[in-house]
């Protein structure tokens, strides 16, 4: 009864405050304030934004790049999904990126991007992003803005608590949000309790190339591990994961997973575990997973199927794994820039629970336990809790920091962002978000050094924010100025797919390193033709390899004869341009793949299996130059048993 009263009180207070927020927003919209806000987000034509923001595309499987403060979309980077815009996942070179132990998977659900760090500060080398459905993690170069590597995570399901980076990019993590039998086996679903597991994976990063290696899996009890963040500075060496469904319900979780008053934060000493594994600890268990790496030199991705993974039983490494109770099915888990405070957001709660790292260490030292869960010690709630942010908002999800002593938390149900003070835990400001905000991002806001000028919220519900576009709407984001005492809503902009989270970085940290074109000299593609003189067509049985080039404004060769119905034609197109922003495209009628977009100096391959006799055109799909419309050619396709000679030409100089 008492709880219900408190809940209702919180609810009405929340509504009141939201109401106030709305009113003040309306009044500021019509006054002088709104015109100065326009200036704050205005980036004049030809000038650059101050920050890059990388938003996950959710069910698009991709990563979209925006400029801040303008909110202009700069690029969509294909990661886990085929992308006909440039041929990613269709071209012969990139197909391997989407291989998994389940076969070729053309789609993924991308969630939480995180930028590499050095000494806890964004370093702009790479950005990582996780895939939830077929558990994977991708690494994207921040020089080429291309996906360079994807590693699958075996023995897991629902890789949501990912892909967060430790402060020297030693490790990134993958979690298990949907507990599963480990190893997988055929068993009754309702015997889940105690039988399912929630492995947490630790992927080590090679500092030179960024290559990912599945170092070990911590075979945790079968709760739903939801979100995570590494410790930093003083808590560096620890990783924290929220979990819900400690009830281990297997059905109707929306009710059954909310029965326990508290769930857990798992505090994991990864340094200790890494040391343990390095010294031969853990057991090699089964697990098949694909590791796909794109080689910039050969411009080709390859897949290595790997077998087996080191599994660590958390009970076997003393002092490495603890649970901390956290109220009401937590979602976000965030660590303040000093590493001292760990914030758990109970999504069915009105409060944030703030844990102290010092208190946690002391409780561990004093063995201040409140029993255990499957042999993992549970630290006493009162011994580790430092404070509570009692905002009156409903449905806290995720927190980031501005580096000036404040935290910013999203509240899904009351649809607002709340600013609060670290240390006193008092609420200092709140503004509505439109509508039902999920995560928010401050550039560097989950690192030791946030760049606390802007914050943006990513909202789940759009409704009337933009011109209507039928039942399906893009999600909305809102940009806030957080440079002053009070937050100021500056801009509303649509996003693509469903951005679950974003990482942002000052543009100056990466823009000068952005690649302009690929050096033809360094193109080691197996089928590259580096000059028109090297172009040719080769037949090998019914496989035909066309070594072609593009340059403004023609293909070489542009006439090909002697192709037969039933052939499989590989068009290997090398773009001979050595100039910034002069890609060429290639498409041929009847191709059941996609076009390809070839960057200057690059070679890409697409296949074509002609089924009809005739003379068929191919052309450049990118408006490359003044004579782009002229950039086309013909392929003559003859009958299966015809004697048409294989020959090719440019400007009527036939070769064979």
């Amino acid at each position: 009864m008492k709880t219900i009263q408190k809940f209702l009180l919180g609810l009405s207070a929340g509504l009141l405050l939201v109401g106030c927020g709305n009113t003040s927003k309306d009044s500021s919209n019509s006054g002088a304030m709104s015109s100065s806000n326009a200036e704050k987000v205005y980036v004049p034509p030809g000038e650059h934004d101050e920050f890059y923001a990388f938003m996950s595309g959710g069910y698009s499987g991709n990563l979209t790049v925006y400029g801040l403060p303008s909110g202009r979309m700069l690029k969509e980077i294909p990661v886990f999904s085929q992308f006909p815009t440039n041929g990613y996942g269709y071209s012969e070179e990139s197909k391997a990126m989407l291989n998994t132990s389940f076969g070729f998977i053309p789609w993924g659900d991308a969630h939480h991007p995180d930028i590499s760090q050095t000494d806890g500060v964004l370093d702009g080398r790479w950005i990582f992003i996780n895939e939830n459905n077929t558990p994977r993690i991708a690494r994207i170069s921040l020089t080429t803005f291309e996906t360079e590597e994807i590693i699958e995570i075996p023995n897991s399901a629902g890789n949501h608590a990912s892909s967060f980076v430790t402060e020297n990019t030693e490790y990134i993590v993958a979690g298990t949000r949907f507990a599963v039998p480990n190893p997988q086996k055929d068993m009754p679903i309702d015997e889940m309790k105690g039988e399912f597991k929630g492995p947490l994976s630790f992927i080590s990063i090679d500092q030179e190339h960024g290559h990912m290696n599945l170092d070990f899996q911590l075979n945790m009890p079968g709760f739903n591990y939801d979100l995570a963040h590494p410790g930093r500075d003083k808590s560096h060496g620890w990783f924290f994961f929220t979990s819900y469904n400690t009830e281990e319900a297997h059905s109707m979780q929306e009710v059954n997973a909310s029965q326990n008053d508290k769930d857990f934060i798992a505090a994991v000493n990864w340094k200790k575990l890494a040391e343990y594994v390095k010294n031969g600890g853990g057991t090699k268990v089964a697990g098949t997973y694909a590791h796909n790496v794109y080689d910039e030199s050969t411009m080709t991705a390859t897949t290595e199927m790997k077998e087996g993974v080191i599994s660590v039983d958390p009970r076997n490494v003393e002092g490495a794994v603890y649970y901390m109770p956290v109220p009401k099915s937590p979602h976000g888990l965030d660590v303040d820039p000093s590493g001292q405070y760990i914030i758990g957001n109970g999504k069915l709660s009105t409060q944030l629970s703030v844990y102290s790292f010092d208190k946690m260490m002391k409780a561990i030292e004093n063995k201040d336990y409140d029993g255990d869960a499957y042999g993992i010690p549970i630290l006493k709630f009162d011994s580790v809790l430092e404070g509570v942010v009692d905002s009156g908002g409903l449905g806290p999800l995720h927190t980031e920091f501005d580096g000036k002593g404040f935290g910013y938390t999203t509240f899904f149900i009351s649809s607002e962002v709340v600013k609060w003070k670290i240390g006193t835990w008092e609420v200092v400001d709140r503004l509505p978000s439109f509508y039902s905000v999920g995560h928010l991002t401050i550039p560097g806001g989950n690192s030791r050094k946030p760049f606390g000028k802007y914050m943006f919220s990513m909202n789940k519900i759009t409704k009337d924010r933009y011109l209507p576009t039928g039942p399906e709407l893009e999600h909305s984001a809102q940009l806030y100025d957080i440079s002053g005492d009070k937050m100021d809503l500056l801009l509303d902009f649509p996003t693509h797919g469903e951005p679950h989270y974003a990482a942002a970085i000052p543009a100056d940290l990466i823009k000068s390193k952005s690649k302009k074109y690929y050096d033809l000299e360094e193109n080691n593609h197996k089928y590259a033709a580096k000059s028109e003189a090297a172009t040719r067509v080769e037949r090998n049985g019914n496989e035909v390899h066309v070594y072609a080039t593009t340059v403004r404004s023609h293909f070489a060769p542009d006439n090909i004869e002697g192709i037969k119905v039933g052939d499989k034609v590989y068009f290997h197109i090398t773009n001979l341009e050595q100039d910034f922003d002069v890609p060429h495209g290639f498409a041929v009628i009847g191709a059941n793949t996609s076009e390809i977009l070839i960057m200057p100096g690059q070679t890409k391959t697409i296949t074509w299996e002609p089924e009809r006799e005739g003379v068929w055109p191919f052309y450049c799909t990118d408006f490359c130059s003044a004579l782009h419309q002229e950039m086309q050619g013909y392929v003559r396709v003859s009958g299966k048993n015809s004697s048409t000679k294989l020959r090719w030409s440019l400007d009527d100089e036939w070769k064979e």
Binding site: Y517, R552, D579, S625, A626, L627
Partner: protein, 196 residues
Amino acid sequence: MDLKKMLNCSAIVLSMACLLACNTKGKADTEDKTSKAYLNEVSTSKQGQAFMEDDGNEMNALKLALTSPDHTTLVKAVQEAEVENALVNVGPLTVFAPTNAAFNKIDKATLEDLLKPEHKSALAGILVHHVAPSNYPLKTLQKNVEKNRKLYMADGQYLDVTTQGDDIYIGGTKIIKSVNVSNGWVHIIEEVLLPN
């Protein structure tokens, strides 16, 4: 007016515009906007691809001309006519670039007259007559002769391509050197090509 003078002049205009902007501070909104628009006009005149910092790129037609001591008159003409951006355009372009000696064949008074601001469009017309859209390496020009193909120039006129021995002539003037640039070809010629 030489380039240096021109730059000095625009610096003066800019600083005047700045002063204007400062003076109007605190005055009515409309006045402020006017001076801003003026400032904008001045500052955007040197925008575009020609003014982009692009270390690492292969040389484009304009950059090549800028680095050539034999083409200072051509560069001056390009700057006077303000056609820099056309020469760095994605093209492809084939530029027939008259040397300083070629320009010196024009009588001095006519040349100086041509470089005056009031003759900007006439000058631009002459320069455009030196550019063929598309890639024309020597080999392709040679084929033009063999196949009796005309050369279409960017100003809409056609030029004849002929050969004498191993030399290729364009509109009657000899190509003495050829350079492949990132946005096409530059062929160095001995005479200025005058449109009909």
